[in-house]
């Protein structure tokens, strides 16, 4: 065991060097550099805000895609983790005065706890039943956090704090009052999350995850405790969806029960499917398309002359159509074909 570990360390730089040599590696590095310098070339808070949302959704979409695309556990209730962590982070920064990073970790831990509550019974469910079960659980939480009567009970028990009710928790302080600091913090957290996911799916544990996805019975016939690995996958996915939820609360200065809505679970699925299921960088591209196309549609909706078409430029309307087109005509998402085209163009430019 010791020897293999040593091998891995000595192999690591060459593995990284090989990756950078590929077109995909270069493209990723260029995109990351571009993303990293954005707050230094503009101080337009609107643009910085959109990029923040994009990076948070990237983590969220990747956490869903990791569970569905690599482990084969399709959840339709991923909003549970987003919401629980969002609420925990918002509550602890607003009422307990925690620093943002402690609140963020606490939120992720709560999401991990809920991924156990959701994951353990859900492991008895397979395929569409798992999807339905998780969907139902997210609806239960949505309804609970919406309940005014619970809100009154809570306020009586803990005066001065609000948890349940339609308003949610507002006035959450941001990561930093300086937008650049907040941006860089989110950027680094996103990079770390993506790196962990990428490493995980390429590791030996990732091999077991993919085996469970391809044939669960066959995996147990290979002597693998599939229950253990499925729970592990739920915990990992819950943790990162929780990180996304905490960042969401910090970036939007609050949360309301709406984050538990199936719509948010659906967002994760749209982003992952558009980018390409079972592709971590695909989730990033999907989130990018989702956030920016969504923003363009929102701007179009604000044009008075287009008011007649109001309903047609609703993001969810367009995205649902897009999703149907993607799963019908481009099952592998847009990342892979796009990279191939770009690489062909690049090779052509270099005269190869």
């Amino acid at each position: 065991m010791k020897e293999t570990k040593h091998d891995k360390i000595s192999n690591f730089p060459s593995y990284l060097r090989d990756w950078i040599k590929t077109f995909r590696g270069k493209a990723t590095i260029i995109c990351l550099i571009g993303l990293g310098i954005i707050p230094f070339i503009t101080n337009n808070s609107y643009i910085i805000g959109i990029f923040n949302t994009f990076m948070i959704y990237t983590i969220f979409a990747a956490s869903w895609d990791f569970l569905a695309g690599y482990v084969g556990q399709v959840s339709f209730g991923h909003a549970i983790f987003l919401g629980i962590a969002g609420y925990t982070t918002a509550f602890s920064t607003r009422y307990l005065g925690s620093p943002w990073w402690i609140a963020l970790l606490l939120g992720a831990c709560f999401a991990v706890g809920f991924s156990l509550i959701v994951g353990v019974p859900a492991l008895r469910l397979k395929g569409p039943y798992l999807a339905l079960g998780t969907l139902a659980m997210s609806l239960i939480l949505y309804q609970l956090f919406l309940m005014g009567s619970l809100g009154i009970l809570w306020e009586n028990a803990f005066p001065g704090t609000e948890l349940f009710g339609t308003d949610g928790i507002g006035q959450v302080p941001p990561i930093s009052d300086i937008p650049i600091v907040q941006y860089v913090a989110i950027f680094l957290i996103m990079c770390a999350s993506m790196l962990i996911f990428t490493h995980l799916v390429k590791s030996k544990t990732g091999t077991i995850f993919k085996a469970i996805r391809d044939d669960e019975t066959g995996t147990s016939a290979s002597g693998i405790n599939t229950t253990k690995y499925k729970i592990l996958a739920f915990l990992i996915s819950g943790f990162f969806a929780g990180i996304a939820g905490g960042l969401y609360a910090l970036r939007f200065s609050g949360v309301n029960p709406g984050v538990f809505q199936p719509l948010y679970s659906f967002y994760a699925i749209i982003m992952a499917a558009v980018g390409g299921i079972a592709s971590i960088s695909g989730a990033a591209l999907g989130a990018f398309i989702f956030v920016f196309l969504g923003e363009i549609l929102r701007l179009l909706g604000d044009i008075p002359q287009l008011a007649v078409f109001g309903g047609f430029v609703e993001p969810i309307f367009i995205f649902s159509i897009l999703l149907i087109l993607i799963i019908r005509f481009a099952e592998q998402g847009v990342l892979k074909p796009m990279l191939e085209r770009l690489q062909n163009m690049w090779d052509l430019l270099l005269g190869r």
């Binding site: 065991m1 020897e3 293999t4 091998d7 030996k204 091999t207 077991i208 993919k210 085996a211 391809d214 044939d215 019975t217 066959g218 995996t219 147990s220 016939a221 290979s222 002597g223 693998i224 405790n225 599939t226």
Partner: protein, 247 residues
């Protein structure tokens, strides 16, 4: 030669159907045994019971002196019983090397792979089953014979003491059958106890020194395959009543 697998009074009932009926037999360490019986005799159900994929209605299964009745499949694999399936199973979108690696990553497989590393162990198993030149391709594009070899390779990754092969020849051409036969003989020579099923008597006849006959879930007889083939009930099961006159 001690007893490796001991099955006693094993019964599996589904509603209205008894697939395995009060079945008892033993397999000794290092033996090479065949389980014969026509289609629907209950051979696969018996394998599912031994490997933990189904729970018996009654009876006990002991492996290496240990009661394994009703244990989870992965636990049984890690005690040293590996199986293959009649309908081939594989991790369709993963390379052959990764297909084998999964078995090498099981607790029992890891102990074997510790010395050389997972990839090296998986490669040596691929070489042993004759698929090393296809290590990087996924099983979806493999011919049926190679998939059967892959199945055996996946079982070997867990370092089994007892190998259960469920119809390893079904759907194979004559050439492919020869390759698998050679592989099984080699594994047995390396010290693996082999217990395999087959519904075509001829295939097993030349291979195993001892055969157990099964019909409608019941134990019929056992012994050298030529003798088992002369048994009246076995003949009836395969050829229908009155066929002993033909034989």
């Amino acid at each position: 030669m001690g007893v490796l697998l001991e099955v006693k009074n094993l019964t599996k009932k589904y509603s209205g159907l008894t697939a395995v009926n009060d079945f008892s037999f033993e397999v000794k360490r290092g033996e090479f045994t065949g389980l014969i019986g026509p289609n629907g005799a209950g051979k696969t159900t018996l394998f599912n019971l031994i490997s933990g994929f189904e729970k018996p209605s009654s009876g006990t299964i002991r492996f290496d002196g240990r009661d394994i009745t009703g244990m989870k499949p992965h636990k049984i694999v890690n005690l040293g019983i590996a199986r293959t399936f009649q309908l081939v199973r594989s991790f369709k979108f993963m390379s052959l090397l990764d297909n084998i690696s999964v078995s090498c990553l099981s607790p029992r497989g890891k102990r074997l792979a510790k010395e050389y590393g997972i990839d090296e162990s998986a490669s040596s198993i691929l070489a042993a089953v004759g698929l090393i030149d296809k290590a990087r391709i996924p099983p979806i594009i493999l011919p049926h014979g190679d998939l059967r070899k892959l199945q055996i390779g996946k079982a070997l990754g867990t370092n089994p003491q007892l190998l259960l092969l469920d119809e390893p020849f079904s759907g194979l051409s004559h050439e492919e059958q020869k390759g698998i036969t050679e592989l099984i003989i080699k594994l047995h020579a390396d010290g693996v106890t082999v217990f395999m099923t087959g519904h075509v008597l001829r295939e097993l006849m030349h291979l195993v020194p001892r055969a157990i006959a099964m019909h409608q879930g019941k134990y019929i007889t056992e012994g050298p395959p030529e003798e088992v083939a002369k048994n009246k009930i076995v003949l009836e099961a395969y050829l229908g009543k009155g066929s002993e006159k033909l034989a």
